[in-house]
Symmetry: C2
Subunit: 597 residues, 2 copies
């Protein structure tokens, strides 16, 4: 029987609540967005007592369904001022699901002059709020290693690092890898790490001792569904592991990780290079998924069993897609950073004109250690370049600037942790790539209009995962590619946004979408597994739209209007090479996307 | 015959236009707000080509009417994202009026990679756009001295300093003193200096050679009106120069300047001390108008004719109120800064816990030199104190931090120039005293609710001059003081906002309000002079409301909602000593203020 854990940081109390009737089918993003919209004053300050930090494992987390262990966090975003959900793999989703926790709501805040830091330890039917001042102010590699020792039960761990503890808007929520104490699993976006920091919570530690896998309501149908999905995933060119006739790997997330996109987007002319000033980069290949694959193979050969580099690494228990990687140091074979995702390699590499793989890996490692979202921070570093404090291409300079974040009294350190909008404004930059205050990801909206429509209209602020039209516009669905330059993308974006909201709630990784859009049996496997788990038919679109409605309601009450559903001016006035196009989608087309939702 | 000068910085062209029929009665704020609302895309980026920078002398500027030479600047504010008007004395209003310029509209922008800086020189029926790269990057005391020599015709000079040239949001628009080249006359608020910087215009130089005083349509009535007003001003306790039975000065702007308010507000418990954490300060008296008066007298006695300290100094030609001062160095008697206004002494003094007069004067001098609004910058320095980079009371530390702004590559220098909201967010502060992104002035809204209602609801962002209910709540009108703690202040604020918009358009200094509210003959003198000048009856309230309507229309189209008409959360949750009250005005009361306008 699932329960909700409500924690009040004003008096350090907690209580267990049963799941309300109208929340019965809600988990993951559906849960966090429902709670935030129902319980949080939309006009509240996001970093004071009236905001809430909500955690919820996906619906199928902890079950046998493939790649279904993801977890959502939510709250009012200090970056966007609107509702936010961010999700990640790691251990926490599965751990909470196994002890029957549908969600955790952290509310209130210690008195404003409080100097203490806390951790929340969740066990089966038990919760402890522990004073852990020794956890604060530490790099996250050190912290998570300490927690892993302090709690030798292989717990799920999420929390905030220095950036979040200082209430800075670039702060993500870290999580640990499924097998160890590596803080590389980020629910990165929206500055939600700072919301946790404002509650003075460093870590939420989930101990699944005594727990068990959740039981589907219709076991047979569930098993059949999840197996059908698993088969489809294994076979698909993106989600399976494929080799060509000569036995060499090709395509596939297992071979190259998400960073397979680096070369694909570059080829398409939609890879934003040097602060969104070109759609092509001559350094992209050097930091691509292929380059990492090659490096891993090389170090394996050189260092044998001592080599720690990996591809086809899983981000959470039960993931069959295994798109994560471990980037090794070339000279030792030891772990440098894990994972190096496409978005991070783009944000901290191509976007900054940096083509040295170990510089990019180091920037990513620093983000992980400080507790920063890589997408936001890469864009923030680009603002330092636009604003004349750094030069494009200067990897060592960017590393030095980011290391300033370790120094609490460093103005530059605070600046690099504050997100692109704020940093850009401090530096007098007028080309700040943000929507609703959140920085753009790794697809330029000018040559690929559908993703621009998503950036503009999702309640989440610029976010590719909110409606990943790239799947249709670049990768194609069932062999058909939607013209990326076409302007009528309202329906496409809406469909992606709705189905994404559904997937973000199930615990399934969004990457199953590559497969289920191509494969009807896989799609049915997905929907069957969800409906069978709940014992209730769930319509993907209706379920997704209901979530979007909650989110848009919240934003409207927070003061958002259609004027917030726009891209920055420079995307409409500056042509992007090589296609030399601006973002020409009309305001009317944008307003049509979620009209009436 | 008045004309409008339209300057296009994209191609460095200009043209003269006749004043459109429906602009015939508009000048000052009425003119700038009408142009901005009609011509500027409300959703445009405030620091790119689609924004406009508008200048307009008040209606009666250049005439014999007393204290009527003020000038407005307007545009879309980079600080608030909404419409903005700021006004000041100085020479420019009178100079432009004498050569028949109703307004200057600077639009477009040089290409984005342009490195050149320009000045606009306006003469009778002539305009020149001059490349003046040697004017850029200089401290304003040096710059304005140079211009004063380059153009030996005693021109009006307005422009932007380093802060504006770097597009930073704390940037004000400086102007020169009527008698010399001192850059202390600021149209400070809203970051409009950065708008001018975005046009790559350093200075607008107005040469009135060959000009003459504008002619009223009904000369006799005009003369009678302006004389009646002058008599009323001379007699009034606030605007006149009064001595008591013993021949000693008391009250009065001529004796103590606006900074006479320092002790009055402290006494009332409404003086925001140390980042709005108390309504009383034990250091206020040391930096009050009385203290400056004493210092001036002391240095006059000591240094005789060499002493430069002054009170009863006029900010523009023809001012009879003469509230400006010159603060001398104690050890030399030479000018340290001019003027030191109440708002500046509060922002850079009491608000920072700094009670050393020469520290406060130095901070003000630095703001003037760098091109920063003192209210915004004082609040920004308070954010450094809230955020742990400085300690309250540390004058030398604050001076050192502000001097960083001279260094283009200093992150701290950019931060102190960026306004309180941005700096506060960079530093993780959740007590940021701003409305619509603009920092609060020197009256705490918790014990004085009417001014809080104005802060919240004026289209200008937090701004005491937009509806100075302090006149009724603290100083009293016709002997009656409106209870400052009463909650029903919608009507009071609306009346002040409307009449202020009228006065801001006439060229009259807002301080005539102290007198005309108390004195019916003075009030009639004011309205008669305006109506007689235009040859048309002008109703104060209707005229003012029409301006507010333009401004609210613009903001609405820019995406503002009633959610933007709110004070920050901490004013509702943190009690202010000594009265221990929060800001309890309801949202409904706030929404009622300008409803239907």
């Amino acid at each position: 029987m699932s329960k909700i854990l409500r924690i009040n940081m004003s008096d350090l109390s907690h209580k267990w609540e049963s799941v309300p009737k109208d929340y019965e089918t809600l988990a993951g993003r559906a849960f966090t967005s429902a709670v935030v919209n129902r319980e949080v004053d939309p006009t509240c300050h996001p970093l004071r007592e009236y905001n809430k930090f909500v955690i919820s494992p996906g619906l199928l987390a902890g079950t046998q369904a493939p790649s279904s262990g993801r977890m959502s966090v939510g709250g009012k975003s200090p970056l966007t001022g609107g509702i936010k959900e961010a999700n990640a793999g790691g251990l926490t989703g599965e751990r909470l699901a196994r002890i029957g926790v549908r969600g955790i709501i952290i509310e209130g805040a210690p008195p404003k002059d409080s100097k203490d830091w806390y951790s929340v330890v969740v066990r089966k039917d038990a919760c402890e709020i522990v004073k852990t001042n020794d956890y604060a102010g530490k790099g996250l590699y050190e912290l998570i290693g300490k927690i892993w020792k302090d709690y030798p039960v292989k717990p799920g761990i999420i929390g905030c690092g220095m950036a979040g503890q200082r209430l800075l808007k670039g702060a993500g929520v870290f999580g640990n890898n499924p097998e160890n104490a590596d803080p590389g699993r980020y629910a990165g976006r929206g500055g939600l790490g700072a919301v946790l920091g404002s509650k003075r919570v460093v870590a939420v530690i989930s101990d699944a001792t005594g727990g068990k896998a959740p039981e589907p309501k219709e076991k047979e149908r569930f098993d059949k569904g999840q197996k059908a999905l698993r088969e489809a995933l294994d076979k698909h060119a993106v989600t399976g592991k494929l080799t060509n006739a000569e036995g060499k790997p090709f395509g596939g997330l297992k071979n190259y990780g998400t960073n397979v996109l680096q070369n694909i987007l570059n080829e398409a002319g939609g890879l934003p290079a040097r602060g969104f000033s070109s759609g092509r980069s001559d350094t992209a290949a050097k930091i691509s998924g292929e380059a990492v694959h090659e490096l891993v193979d090389k170090t394996k050969k050189k260092f044998g069993d001592a080599a720690e580099g990996k591809y086809a690494h899983a981000c959470h228990t039960g993931c069959v897609i295994r798109c994560s990687n471990v980037v090794p140091y070339e000279n030792t074979g030891k772990l440098h950073v894990s994972p190096l995702e496409y978005e991070s390699a783009w944000a901290l590499g191509t976007n900054l004109g940096i083509g040295v793989l170990h510089d990019v890996a180091e920037l990513n490692r620093l983000c992980n250690d400080i507790g920063l979202d890589t997408i936001e921070t890469g864009n923030t570093l680009a603002m330092l370049m636009e604003g004349g404090l750094l030069k494009y291409g200067d990897g060592p300079g960017a590393i030095k600037a980011l290391k300033e974040a370790y120094e609490p009294a460093s103005p530059l350190g605070r600046l690099v942790s504050s997100g692109a909008k704020t940093a850009g404004e401090v530096l007098g930059v007028t080309r700040i790539p943000v929507v609703k205050g959140q920085a753009l990801p790794a697809y330029d909206p000018r040559p690929i209009r559908g993703i621009g429509v998503t950036y503009a209209t999702t309640p989440m602020g610029a976010d590719h995962t909110a409606g990943y039209t790239i799947a249709a516009e670049i990768l194609g669905i069932k062999g058909t590619v939607t013209d990326p330059r076409a302007l009528n993308k309202a329906e496409l974006s809406k469909a992606f946004q709705a189905s994404t909201a559904y997937i973000d709630s199930t615990g399934y990784c969004l990457f199953i979408a590559f497969c289920v859009l191509d494969n009807d049996a896989g799609f049915k496997g997905m929907t069957d597994s969800v409906s069978a788990f709940l014992g209730k038919e769930i319509d993907v679109t209706q379920y997704g739209l209901a979530i979007l409605k909650n989110e848009r309601d919240f934003n409207k009450k927070a003061g958002f209007t259609e004027k917030d559903d726009r891209l920055p001016e420079f995307f409409r006035t500056e042509k992007l090479p090589p296609h030399n196009v601006t973002f020409d989608v009309t305001d009317a087309e944008l307003d049509a996307v979620l009209k009436g939702v």
